[in-house]
């Protein structure tokens, strides 16, 4: 018989106000195997922990049950406590009588009854707890950063600066991301390219950083400290070694294509770099549009290339690399406007999105930095800005606030007024949100100094009137119908998670929220970690944020990576699967459902009658197993069990609950 000690925590009044502690103790003393039961104001305090340690020694306890808060809170604390008293840490079990009892129930009598039941269940489980031991696992001291926007660039640079190798993965031919598309940045109106390009160059030149562009994650295996990632290096059709980046091919390529970087406002060639300051500044052939690949004629670039770098026969290559940690910084997509027909986007050339507006402002953009109306090439006088397009819209868009639109619209209003003297802007808004250092002041400047008029109201319709546009709305403050005649309409388009975020999440075994933004491990206390150890988040892929926040998060993720990689080794989780040789039939049903490839076949020798025979059974790789237990159910004879959550333990818990 086990010698179980039960410790009930008051948690101040958090538990004690709803659960009758004395009654619970009295009941615990009657439970099978319990030889000691006592209580504590705060068991997690030093005093409380000492009491547990002393009782273990004094009463020769070999199992400990602590009735307190959620094991998600203090399981580790109390494991250490019992370990300090000489017990295996896994001899400790927690009865969650706070989150799942005192905090959710009001009636003291029934709550006490439930607390007793929860304690009994934990006692039943603890009686079957076995000693478990961690193993040490080495760490691969190399990090992978997925996404070469400002978040990924910052994270890669910071990690590299701590001395660890980093691979920076980018799916486009160049790093730079969204920030490269921006003209100026709020609230200082720095030129975006001016502050970004040096960082891009730093990345390219850093000896600890390997840049892997035009590539995507194919497969992720392994676990913290030991990920094995397969990367698909898409066929660029240009030999990166030979190419000097002279650009002749791009000038001579006869096939013009709408430029993604310029938001379709300009053209690029089929062989292209996304933008002039691209890093690496070496082109790729877009096989979907290249004449050779689509029509089997042309090969102009091959003829023109002075170094013979064009290689039409290139195929996708797969790089397999081990990493100790991964930073996900995949950024965002802009919201699709197909549900917003009332704004006439796509129907009238002078209705554009805010990102398109950035390109129209930009000196290297389609208009060379002159703000001109797409319809007639003349500078606009009056521009309407419609806020929250696709944001804060439960009916047909995103319910959340995209966070950056208020600020960039203020920026647009200021830039407009600076570029086109005498021009006016009209901003239709729901609320203006400007939390951030110098943000409110920046917004004030827009309407105080730059002819911006803010109108609170939803725009119901945008329609053409001659060569101009009418914006119809209601001024929510006065109730008056507003109809403005303007030259251009700019839609503050919402921010979406990447359309393929779910796929990547599955490959990485991380989770997303309802809007496909990756989930952090804790919204406040672990904002850059994911629930999968060793995988961290930076930038908008985690949720809408502006550049300063993105950079801060990227640096934070880099520190997390560095602190992980600076460890010698990691302790493995001992609550993993285990095979009972005698019961295993070797049908490998377990292997089929294991998400980590942690189960393999093994040949054993066995006595059958008077003979020694060999047969195959399943074996668990203790480093790969993460302890989900899917195998334990696939295994019909119950030959594979999960340590810490064994069949015996769970059945005992069920029995104890139903007593």
């Amino acid at each position: 018989m086990k010698r179980i000690g039960v410790f009930i925590c008051w948690c101040g009044s958090n538990i004690a106000a709803t659960v009758d502690i004395d009654k619970t103790i009295a009941a615990a003393k009657q439970m099978p195997g319990v030889v000691f039961a006592d209580h504590n104001k705060y068991t997690c305090s030093e005093l409380g922990q000492d009491m547990v340690k002393n009782a273990i020694k004094e009463h020769q306890l070999d199992r400990v049950v602590i009735g307190a808060c959620s094991p998600r809170m203090h399981e580790n604390t109390f494991r250490k406590t019992v370990e300090a008293a000489g017990l295996n840490p896994y001899y400790m079990e927690i009865a969650n009588i706070r989150e799942q009892c005192s905090w959710v129930h009001k009636d003291k009598e029934t709550a006490t009854g439930k607390a007793i039941s929860l304690v009994r269940t934990a006692v039943a489980k603890a009686a079957r707890n076995e000693a478990l031991f961690s193993t040490e696992m080495p760490i691969e001291r190399r990090a992978l950063v997925i996404g070469g926007g400002i978040a990924g660039i910052q994270a890669a640079l910071d990690i590299a600066e701590t001395g660890f190798e980093v691979d920076l993965l980018e799916k486009e031919p160049s790093i730079g991301g969204r920030m490269a598309q921006l003209d100026k940045t709020f609230p200082t109106l720095d030129c975006s390219a001016c502050i970004l390009t040096p960082k891009m160059v730093d990345v390219a030149q850093h000896e600890k950083i390997r840049l892997i562009t035009y590539s995507e994650v194919e497969k992720v295996e392994g676990y913290v400290g030991n990920f094995t990632v397969t990367i698909r290096n898409k066929a660029r059709s240009v030999d990166m070694e030979k190419c000097t980046g002279c650009g002749d091919c791009m000038n001579k390529c006869p096939q013009k294509v709408s430029s993604e970087f310029e938001m379709g406002l300009a053209e690029r060639r089929a062989i292209y770099t996304p933008f002039p300051q691209a890093v690496p500044n070496k082109p790729a052939i877009d096989r979907a549009t290249c004449r050779w690949f689509t029509q089997e004629k042309c090969r102009v670039c091959e003829k023109i290339c002075p170094t013979g770098a064009i290689d039409y026969d290139q195929v996708d290559e797969f790089i397999t690399q081990r990493y100790g940690a991964i930073v996900v910084a995949t950024g965002f997509d802009t919201h699709k406007l197909d549900k917003y027909g009332e704004y006439a986007y796509g129907k009238h050339p002078d209705v554009i999105t805010s990102l398109e507006m950035e390109r129209l402002f930009n000196a290297s953009g389609p208009t060379g930095g002159k703000l001109l109306r797409p319809s007639n090439g003349k500078p606009p006088k009056n521009v309407a800005f419609i806020q929250c397009v696709g944001s804060r819209d439960k009916a047909k868009g995103n319910p959340y606030c995209a966070k950056i639109c208020c600020m960039y619209t203020a920026k647009h209003a200021i830039l407009l007024n600076e570029k086109v003297p005498g021009s006016k802007s009209f901003v239709f808004y729901i609320d203006v949100r400007t939390p951030g250092k110098d943000y409110e002041e920046f917004y004030n400047r827009a309407y105080e100094q730059h002819n911006a008029t803010y109108i609170k109201g939803n725009v119901s319709k945008v329609f053409p009137d001659g060569d101009q546009l009418v914006v119809r709305s209601v001024d929510a403050l006065s109730g008056a119908l507003v109809e403005l005649v303007v030259d251009m309409v700019v839609l503050a388009t919402s921010v979406d998670a990447r359309s393929d975020a779910k796929d990547l999440a599955q490959k990485l075994s991380i989770t997303t929220n309802a809007h496909k933004f990756f989930n952090e491990a804790h919204p406040k206390l672990r904002p850059v970690e994911t629930q999968t150890a060793g995988i961290f988040l930076a930038g908008v892929c985690q949720g809408p944020k502006d550049i300063p926040e993105t950079v801060a998060q990227a640096s934070a993720a880099a520190v997390k990576v560095a602190s992980l990689l600076s460890k010698e080794s990691l302790k493995s989780n001992p609550t993993i699967a285990e095979v009972d040789q005698k019961r295993c039939s070797g049908d490998m049903s377990c292997m089929a459902v294991c998400p980590y490839g942690a189960i393999s076949e093994k040949i054993i020798e066995e006595r059958r009658g008077r003979e020694t025979v060999t047969r195959k059974i399943a074996e668990v790789n203790t480093a790969l197993c993460q302890g989900c237990g899917a195998c334990t159910v696939a295994c019909r004879p119950g030959a594979i069990n999960l340590k810490g959550f064994t069949n015996e333990q769970i059945l005992a818990e069920v029995d104890a609950i139903c007593l």
Partner: protein, 143 residues
């Protein structure tokens, strides 16, 4: 074990995955969202750890209802566990119904770590439903 019909308070065993639904239950607690005391949670690492035998065992030992709660599809901490849960318990649930067990008695729900309100809501809902059915007699041991 005798069952007093008038004052019958159903007993519901909920198998909750550690990463989503158990966290959801904790969040319900942290947010002080109340729900009936009828529910007892068994913490499992993943809903795919729940063996159909555990469900039947709970009913045999006197549970009036059993719930499996796991992460939403695509959100499994272990990648794919809840997809197996979905397949396994779709067929188990339908078989129990086929054999004449009330569908409300055995349920599967997806409750994420951020859905404290949903957790409390589901507990309220299930307790109501099962209370209305009365005690489980069909799968219960006669002891």
């Amino acid at each position: 074990m005798s069952v007093n019909l008038e004052s019958h308070e159903p007993l519901i065993v909920a198998f909750c995955c550690n990463w989503c639904s158990y966290a959801g239950a904790d969040l319900a607690g942290t947010s002080r969202m109340s729900y009936p005391t009828n529910v007892r949670i068994v913490r499992v690492p993943c809903s795919s750890r729940v063996n159909p035998s555990f469900i039947i065992r709970a009913f045999q030992r006197g549970a009036d209802g059993v719930l499996i709660a796991g992460c939403h599809p695509g959100d499994c901490h272990y990648h794919s566990g809840n997809y197996y849960t979905r397949r396994r318990f779709t067929v188990l649930k339908r078989m129990l119904e086929y054999m004449g067990i009330e569908p409300e008695r055995f349920q599967v729900r997806w409750i994420s770590g951020s859905e404290g309100a949903k957790f409390a809501g589901v507990m309220n809902e299930i307790t109501q439903e099962i209370k209305a059915l009365g005690p489980n007699r069909k799968l219960r041991d006669v002891r």
